[in-house]
């Protein structure tokens, strides 16, 4: 099954065209984001299609995809909630925020995605907003100075279908839309 529609293939061609002739392989990360934006994660079909677009083997594509944490090879929730637990956030209560997020999202112990498929919750390394610790990203949009109570509110709002306003900028509506922005898909159309 082809992952990309005809429109999607045109977007892929525009992404590849950003790089110098003969250097198409540089488009592998944005193309993987594009597949992720369609399927909500990466599948074998998506990896193979990236390989076809770039003229490289599926195994080479998987070798790249498996190196990067934002490319998801496993089942992934509609929303990805990332709690920074690196030093500056840890010093200001990140552990309690992570545990509250994990519980509120209904993720079982030792797992990262809730059984209903709505949430993936994971610990994240430094998100580069340390003066606003503890920091949480919802589908890569930043929320500053998050308390355990606030992260529960965020999870409940997402469950109710709302898109909580981030501390700066605009929020994507879900993980797929975030992946589409990361592919630069909007930039080419």
């Amino acid at each position: 099954m082809a992952v990309l529609s005809d429109d999607g293939r045109r977007t892929a061609a525009a992404i590849i065209a950003r790089y110098p002739a003969g250097r198409e392989r540089s488009a592998v990360l944005p193309l993987l984001y594009l597949m992720q934006s369609v399927e909500g994660r990466l599948t074998h079909d998506g990896l193979r299609e990236v390989g076809e677009l770039l003229g490289i083997r599926t195994a080479e594509v998987e070798a790249v995809a498996s190196f990067y944490t934002m490319l998801r090879l496993r089942p992934t929730g509609t929303h990805v909630v990332s709690v920074c637990t690196n030093l500056s956030c840890a010093l200001r209560g990140a552990k309690e925020v992570f545990e509250a997020a994990h519980d509120a999202a209904g993720v079982e112990h030792g797992e990262e995605t809730s059984p209903d498929g709505v949430f993936t919750v994971h610990e994240e390394e430094c998100l580069g907003a340390c003066d606003a610790a503890p920091v949480v990203q919802v589908d890569f949009a930043n929320h500053d100075r998050v308390t355990p109570e606030r992260v529960v509110e965020l999870v409940e709002a997402l469950r109710a279908g709302a898109v909580p306003a981030p501390s700066r900028g605009r929020a994507p509506k879900d993980f797929r839309e975030a992946s589409r922005i990361l592919a630069g898909a909007e930039e080419t159309t």
Binding site: Y19, P20, R23, R25, S26, V28, L29, P30, Y33, L42, T43, H44, L47, L54, A59, V64, S66, F67, Y68, T69, M70, L71, L73, R74, S82, T85, N86, L87, S88, A90, L91, A94, K95, F98, H122, E123, E124, E125, C126, L127, G128, A129, C130, D131, A132, A133, Q137, F140, A141, N142, P166, R168, G169, R170, P172, A178, I181, L182, G184, E187
Partner: protein, 451 residues
């Protein structure tokens, strides 16, 4: 957000919300530095940056003008500029705020650098997790094209410059310049052997200049004020200002631009408001989690390259993390070691195995199950990582952890003597979590690739 107006170079316009757009930036005198550069020869621009004494802000502190002069001309290959916006060193957030507040200052600096090394294609490698900063940058690049700042004839000079935004996908190692190039070429982000250095054989095996965002954002003002005037700021061997990212157990965290040579005490107490909650200062990490720690008694150390070297540490990425007396230094070591274990790319054995071994030993010490010889073993493992890998990631784990043991030896010793953590569960870092390591993630990959 700042000490005195006279020291504001990179953050000069941060009080003006309009400078995020190109019209506001032009109204504030933006792109005049680029205009001035285009009226000079590339060699004159490089000389001016050399005169300024500017040193790279990414961590290594290499003189910027000298780096530019290393890029060869007339090789018959294209020359590339790559801006490193993969800001990921724990505690660092100055690049992000520079882009969020005034993206054009950085883009202007990048265009000046491209002209100086005669490059017609520039890539910005933007950290993937920086979704919103990436969108700001994308909009700013489009604006710059629309105003003929980029494109076939930069500001009508006839000099061509194409700019491409490229997003990473979650890998700390890609902040290392050769790993960044591997990633940009479409491979796993693994470092490469040097030489050849990127200046000679970088992106697509072509001459490549790689600079950090803060470094490039400093350049326009140097063109405006002249290199000699910039060199008067700061102290010997550390010219100019720097945007320090202040965080941790401090009252007013944030990015603060001060002249190099300003003391840590001024930054943490006079500007940052000191330690909140009536706690005492215990330690300071002066340059991101990869540098050796300073104890509370070293608070008067100057924030400049030489003073930090004298104190046995580094300015690094300019990330100052303040730690109060509630933190257990074994737990600190464990969390830092876990980070580098998680981010090790796996290419070099001392780093791949050594960081893992460090984590195991630190866990035993924290749990009170380590013998005396295992504390020595920890230092021995650190020593065997140092200087034995292709890139500094392993060193970035070994140096700080060895420094925690050296400066807080009594605390490590108490864990062994008392058979457990003397904080008894009350440390501010108690039970902190680190992401599952990549090997573990990979094992759970649910993709089956048919033969």
């Amino acid at each position: 957000v700042n000490a005195t107006p006279t020291t504001r170079i990179v953050t000069a316009n941060w009080d003006d919300p309009d400078v995020v757009g190109i019209d506001g930036y032009l109204a504030a005198g933006g792109y005049e530095g680029l205009r001035a550069a285009l009226a000079m020869t590339p060699a004159e621009v490089i000389d001016l940056v050399k005169t300024s004494g500017l040193r790279g802000r990414g961590g290594a502190g290499f003189p910027t003008g000298v780096k530019w002069s290393f890029v060869p001309q007339g090789t018959g290959k294209p020359t590339y500029v790559v801006a490193n916006f993969d800001e990921s060193e724990p505690g660092t957030f100055n690049n992000r705020e520079i882009i969020e507040r005034e993206p054009h200052r950085f883009l202007e600096g990048m265009a000046i650098a491209a002209y100086a090394v005669q490059s017609h294609v520039a890539f910005v490698y933007c950290r993937g997790e920086f979704l919103w900063p990436g969108e700001i940058l994308d909009a700013a690049i489009r604006e710059a094209y629309a105003k003929d700042v980029f494109g076939a004839s930069v500001l009508g000079s006839g000099f061509e410059l194409e700019v491409v935004l490229h997003r990473g996908a979650g890998a700390y190692i890609c902040g290392e310049e050769t790993a960044l190039l591997s990633s940009l070429e479409g491979y796993r982000g693994q470092p490469r052997l040097r030489p050849p250095f990127p200046a000679v054989e970088g992106l697509y095996a072509s001459p490549t200049l790689i600079n950090n965002v803060e470094t490039l954002a400093t350049v326009p003002k140097i063109l405006e004020m002249t290199g000699a005037a910039y060199a008067k700021l700061g102290v010997e061997n550390s010219a100019g200002t720097r945007v320090f990212s202040l965080s941790g157990n401090v009252a007013n965290g944030g990015n603060y631009e001060v002249e190099l040579g300003t003391s840590l005490r001024e930054l943490v107490y006079d500007i940052g408001g000191g330690i909140p909650d009536g706690r005492d200062l215990k330690a300071i990490i002066p340059g991101g989690s990869s540098v050796p720690v300073l104890s509370a008694g070293e608070i008067d150390t100057g924030l400049d390259f030489d003073a930090m070297a004298q104190a046995g540490t580094m300015l690094g990425s300019g990330a100052v993390i303040v730690i109060d007396d509630r933190a257990c230094m074994v737990q600190l070591g464990l969390r830092v070691a876990q980070f580098y274990m998680h981010e090790s790319c796996g290419k070099c054995t001392p780093c791949r195995e050594g960081t893992r071994w460090m984590v195991q030993l630190l866990r035993k010490i924290e749990e009170g199950e380590a013998s005396q010889s295992e504390l020595d073993l920890l230092l021995n493992v650190c020593d065997r990582i140092l200087g034995n890998c292709l890139c500094p990631l392993g060193d970035a784990a070994a140096m700080p952890v060895a420094s925690y043991v050296a400066k807080f030896r009594d605390e490590y010793q108490r864990h062994i003597d008392e058979g457990g953590c003397p904080f008894g569960g009350e440390s501010s870092l108690e039970g902190v979590l680190a992401p599952v390591d990549q090997l573990h993630s990979h094992e759970r990959s649910s993709i089956e690739v048919p033969a």
